[in-house]
Symmetry: none
Subunit: 415 residues, 2 copies
């Protein structure tokens, strides 16, 4: 198994405005070859610092990919630094100079003197054609692998990676198959999830298991690397099946690209049912998620954001006495909001939230972070109390996720 490191070069990538995004496309191409990216970094336009970084990467990884710093100016130090790190010479290539001259001729421009710098190749290296710019790439075989120099602009880098680097690396690497199995999970914390499935996955290094976590949404990815597809499938079954069994209904989908709102939309369409929302503390976030996917109007009719007590009464018909007696944050109001929204729109289901997003508000019984979620369905209205910590944004985001998950479970029961 080969490892790779990626070094992006350019002082502008060390400002608060810019990110190196080339490494994502490079990582994907490498992963598809069975090459793991074990580190990546950004180095400024500093010859000595870059030379050191390349030398260290070459010691750690079989494949080292450099992006950027191949331009014609003094700032462009990648060729020099790479040659120095390999302790090889830079040789002027009249052939590359001719290609550069042709490129400028096609654009009807005169070639500047400093563009000649771009015609220098590392001894033993191979030039990679760049139809979209002036800087050729370079592919240099090393004792244990390869050092690759790519231009920084994505429209130059991406085709060069696909057309010239991938075939050369594939020819050097043992042939392997990579297959992925994913689970998306919600309704549980990251450490609880890990506690449940670590006894299963930690026994294996292949498949490699990754757990990702974002705003109450969890992902488990298993990636198997084998000689044949059959072996990979068998491994994913061996590890994935017990994980699926352990997690049960905490898993809302095994499609890595289907968010929770996608699952809900699919269930609604399947039931030929419709949905409306009645939000207080989530303030429109649930509606915004439900409408984030194309085609959502097939089952999502719309929603109400009733932020004040008066609007809950006026728009959804929640009784003034109830609010006066129990406040707007309670089980009964959540139920009345959902029922009111369903009545007024004729939808099959309605989903409601009322709670304390903070930083102010809350009671001893229901502190900030408490949210009542209501689901009004044909023949039943379900209310659940949830509680999340953190600031206003976190409470709102997590409550949105929890509310959608409560709806998912009700929809399952009506299937």
């Amino acid at each position: 198994m080969a490892n790779a490191e990626i070094i992006a070069i350019g002082s502008e990538l060390l400002t608060p405005q810019r990110l190196d995004t080339n490494s994502l496309a490079i990582t994907e191409a490498l992963n598809n070859l069975g090459v793991e990216v074990t580190g990546k970094q950004v180095v400024g336009d500093d010859r000595q610092r870059l030379t050191d970084a390349i030398r260290e990467s070459l010691q750690r990884a079989e494949v080292v990919i450099l992006c950027g710093g191949l331009g014609p100016t003094e700032d462009d130090v990648t060729r020099d630094a790479a040659a120095q790190a390999l302790q090889r010479k830079l040789l002027f290539s009249p052939e590359q100079e001719a290609i550069l001259a042709q490129f400028f001729q096609r654009l009807n421009r005169t070639m500047a003197d400093n563009n000649r710098r771009q015609a220098y190749l590392i001894q033993g290296g191979e030039a990679l054609p760049n139809p979209n710019g002036t800087a050729p790439g370079q592919f240099v075989k090393t004792d244990k692998g390869a050092l690759v120099l790519l231009p920084g602009p994505p429209r130059e880098l991406k085709p060069m990676m696909a057309n010239h680097v991938v075939p050369r690396l594939r020819a050097m690497l043992p042939l392997q198959v990579i297959k992925v199995r994913s689970f998306r999970i919600t309704g549980i914390g990251e450490s609880d999830l890990d506690r449940m499935i670590a006894p299963i996955y930690t026994k294996y290094t292949n498949p490699a298991t990754t757990i990702l976590f974002a705003s109450g949404d969890l992902f488990v990815h298993l990636r198997a690397r084998c000689d044949t597809e059959k072996e990979a499938d068998a491994l994913l079954k061996e590890v994935g099946d017990p994980i699926a069994e352990t997690l049960g209904n905490l898993i809302y989908t095994d499609d890595a690209n289907e968010p929770l709102e996608g699952v809900i939309g699919r269930m609604l369409r399947h039931q030929k049912a419709s949905l409306v929302t009645a939000e207080s503390c989530t303030g429109g976030l649930i509606a915004a998620r439900l409408t984030s996917l194309p085609g959502s109007s097939q089952s999502f009719l719309g929603g109400f954001v009733t932020y004040t007590d008066m609007q809950k009464q006026k728009v959804l018909g929640v009784s003034a006495e109830l609010i006066c007696e129990r406040t707007a944050v309670c089980e009964e109001v959540a139920a009345a909001m959902a029922d009111g929204a369903r009545d007024r729109t004729g939808a099959t289901y309605a989903l409601s939230t009322t709670g304390y997003a903070g930083p102010d508000g809350g009671t001893e019984k229901d502190p900030v972070g408490t949210v009542y979620v209501g689901v009004s369905a044909p023949h039943e209205t379900v209310v659940q109390r949830i509680q999340h910590g953190g600031d206003r944004e976190r409470v709102r985001t997590y409550s949105t996720q929890s509310a959608l998950n409560i709806l998912r479970k009700v929809l399952q029961n009506h299937c």
Copy 2:
């Protein structure tokens, strides 16, 4: 001037799906202190590799910031690696354990055993409080500077950086006065903005000018570094005043921390006026932004998401004939939605959107990306047609920003 390096930790950041974006906010905070970022890297959850990386960074830079890997699982190796790189011990802190226990108690959850790992501090290090999560940060003074450990989730990392790391670093750095003047701008593209103000700011290296851009929201930051406050103020006036004059009403606030919805809330409270929304294509995003700030219920009553034609009729009273004749995406429907929402709720103002978010839909006259924005106000209803490119998410986000900006201008006229 001090240099810094940033190391983001996490194998998920080495996949084709994820980027380290924390380093941008960290870089900005460091730059504001006069600290330059000279390198950044991503390392997987590999104890030895991370230890080496930290040790090398500490040799090169005065300040080293680590993000992530402070969770409760086996995978979370940052504490161990940092201690090893510094050749210091990890000490269990009963005080931190108590704080963790309290955090779980507040959430009514039992603390898992492995969360105790998060109560270990590097010898000589100081715990940094994390009100938004379980992992405390750590600030460790070194011979020539500091090593800082921050949790990975942005909502935990950002406040910790601002409230606990910046003050500690400032106290260690040579005294200089740094003053910032900011403008927040919307309704113009990034390159147009730059074209307008570059003739002013490029004449100066002090103050340093930064232009940031996010989803139709632009920021201009001028950062002056001087020996005295008076000099800094004079510089900011010399450069800032002509910029303010050139941009005029494109500037919606000069408070760096006040988003557009904050400006609108302030104007509404000042007018003792109230607001409702009636959204189609933005699907709740406008309501979600208006309710994102605490205290928004003072002026924001609530909203309607009328996603289907039927709901526009039923809930807002838009005429079926009008929709039949002109479709739901037109000036008249935007006006009728806003007027209907205002009538039904008794609000002073109503803001509506109807348009094609894509990828499907649209006409030759009104292609995907076209949105009609309506504002119903006490003596007038204003409709404006806007158009944004890109995918569904971009159209929805940019349209939300444009709609809020149109409302801001109407509110200004009613002041």
